[in-house]
């Protein structure tokens, strides 16, 4: 886990307002695309982040518009490429046992966010932050089939990797 020892590649801070969701989705989707995820997967990774942000806005901050949310993204280009997204907030802490997917056979509006995140991402980890708020860590690796499907975009991935290597010295 090399990323544990380095700063995130991208960090975004936003208020707990739903009007900023589309911008956050676009950013995450773009980074995922450059890592070689398929178009559908890029949309799904954006969706997972969107669902996490929605939960923080709706349940964490109870629709308050002045809450702070920090999104940190690591774009790891090692084989296999991986995106890691960490979302921190200062909202009310939640009992970790209470965070679970609901029974999908119960057809009713709402309550799908955690299921969607867990279904899409390889790893979804909720934690209580030391003093205040919650931290959500999500990871997803590019599968070999995805990379082979990205032949047309290989140049982008390579150039991003070179930029990253250059920045890291």
């Amino acid at each position: 886990m090399a990323d544990q020892h380095r700063e995130p590649d991208v960090r975004l801070e936003l208020f707990s307002q739903s009007r900023f969701l589309s911008g956050a989705r676009a950013l995450v989707g773009n980074i995922a695309q450059r890592l070689g995820f398929s178009e559908i997967e890029c949309g799904q990774i954006s969706l997972a982040v969107d669902e996490a942000l929605c939960n923080i806005i709706k349940h964490g901050y109870q629709q308050r518009s002045d809450g702070r949310i920090w999104i940190s993204i690591w774009a790891n280009h090692d084989e296999p490429s991986e995106i890691k997204v960490v979302i921190d907030d200062q909202a009310e802490q939640v009992d970790l046992e209470a965070i679970k997917s609901r029974d999908l056979a119960d057809i009713r509006p709402g309550g799908l966010g955690v299921h969607i995140m867990r279904e899409i991402m390889d790893e979804v980890l909720f934690e209580k932050r030391e003093k205040q708020g919650m931290r959500l860590t999500m990871r997803k690796q590019v599968q070999p089939a995805d990379r082979s499907a990205q032949v047309g975009r290989a140049g982008n991935v390579t150039s991003l990797k070179r930029e990253s290597e250059s920045e890291n010295g």
Binding site: S22, R25, L104, I116
Partner: protein
């Protein structure tokens, strides 16, 4: 597209069928506007309500929740809710939520009208 000012819902009526065509991304920001439109037309208890999703490139669980509520309202009043022209990215969330077999989803408006 998630700005409510950029989100719009077009509406058509054919006899006892109402077609709603939302235009834009349906997320936590815009789902309330879609819900309002759907609630308005469902007050008239249409026999068939078609939601044409051709111009919806993205939907999150807030949008899905709005459609689940609409489907349940339609069933209670003996009506039918049909989703059509769903883009692949939007279909993806219905599959993940295992709702692709719960809704009536058809490829195009013509099929929905039949």
């Amino acid at each position: 597209m998630a700005n409510p000012e950029q989100f719009n819902v077009l509406s058509e009526t054919h006899d006892s069928t109402i077609i709603l065509r939302p235009q834009g991304e349906v997320d936590l920001n815009c789902a309330p506007a879609l819900r309002e439109h759907i609630c308005d037309v469902q007050q008239h208890k249409p026999e068939k309500l078609i939601i044409d999703l051709a111009d919806v490139p993205y939907m999150d669980s807030s949008g899905v929740a709005t459609l689940v509520e609409a489907m349940q309202t339609a069933r209670r009043s003996g009506g039918q809710l049909i989703l059509c022209c769903m883009q692949a990215k939007v279909m993806s969330i219905f599959e993940i939520a295992r709702l692709d077999t719960v809704f009536t989803i058809v490829p195009d408006k013509e099929t929905a009208m039949q």
